[in-house]
């Protein structure tokens, strides 16, 4: 079990650092269209911020904030968003993942953004849940 890290420096730095890492991760997810990045890269950075907190403050501390149950729901929800967008296009008449049919102002761009968000959520939740599983070794 990764227990609390003694040195105060690490704890304070990681406490300060985490929100900015998460902010940057959201930026990377959202700006997948114009700048290099996208769902996967952003999701991994977001997951890394939680793992940073877990290493600095110990697993149990972060488990209260991000319980395993919520993690599993996040994992399934992200991919479900992806599949759901595909299904919406399918029900509206086009082929499975054809965003041109979506009733949105800029269908293709919005469709892709929705997918990037879904992928980002899944990758973040997967990274943290694999980290939980691999580190809880009795």
């Amino acid at each position: 079990m990764i227990d609390k890290h003694e040195s105060i420096i690490i704890k304070t730095i990681s406490r300060i650092l985490a929100p900015f890492v998460q902010l940057y991760a959201l930026y990377v997810i959202m700006h997948g269209h114009t700048s290099p990045g996208g769902g996967f890269q952003g999701g991994v950075i977001l997951g890394a911020s939680f793992i940073l907190l877990a290493i600095a403050f110990g697993i149990d501390e972060v488990k209260e904030r991000f319980a395993e149950r919520i993690l599993t729901t996040f994992t399934s929800m992200g991919v479900f968003i992806y599949g759901f967008i595909g299904f919406v296009c399918f029900v509206l008449g086009a082929n499975f993942l054809d965003y041109g049919i979506l009733p949105v102002v800029e269908p293709r761009g919005m469709g892709m953004l929705g997918i990037e968000i879904g992928v980002g959520i899944t990758v973040m939740a997967v990274m943290v849940s694999i980290f939980y599983d691999l580190s809880t070794y009795e």
């Binding site: 114009t34 290099p36 996967f40 691999l134 070794y137």
Partner: protein, 127 residues
């Protein structure tokens, strides 16, 4: 001969890396070393795919000069690097991460059961 070597050096690099990974996967006794060899093996193929897409004088595959919706910007194929291998390799990287994650989980259960990660000790314990 030199021209033959200089023009295609990137293929030799990926083949050399791949053979290191290939040998490590088979020859190494320790299971973690096998896993590291597997990673080298996977990543050398990713390196190969990316080197396919490279173009001399091509910039990164994002259309520049986009203020508003300047859809009139005409971009030529030789201006930009070939984006397809990059997309394929995003998938291969994710597959590599998935396989390594599952293999690490397996290693933990093996270590819990046999208290060792050396292959010959495990085989002795199995018999």
């Amino acid at each position: 001969m030199l021209e033959f070597l200089v023009g295609k050096f990137n293929y030799y690099i990926y083949i050399f890396l791949m053979m290191i990974g290939f040998y490590a996967m088979m020859g190494k006794r320790n299971l973690v070393k096998k896993l590291i060899g597997m990673n080298i093996f996977q990543w050398s193929i990713i390196l190969y795919f990316i080197s396919i897409g490279a173009k001399k004088g091509g910039s990164i595959p994002i259309v520049e000069g986009l203020s508003g919706h300047g859809a009139h910007i005409v971009s030529h194929a030789s201006q930009y690097v070939n984006p397809l291998p990059h997309v394929l390799m995003l998938t291969a990287i994710v597959v590599g991460v998935g396989t390594t994650g599952v293999a690490l989980a397996l290693l933990i259960t093996i270590y819990k059961k046999y208290k060792t990660l050396e292959e010959d000790e495990i085989l002795r314990k199995i018999k």
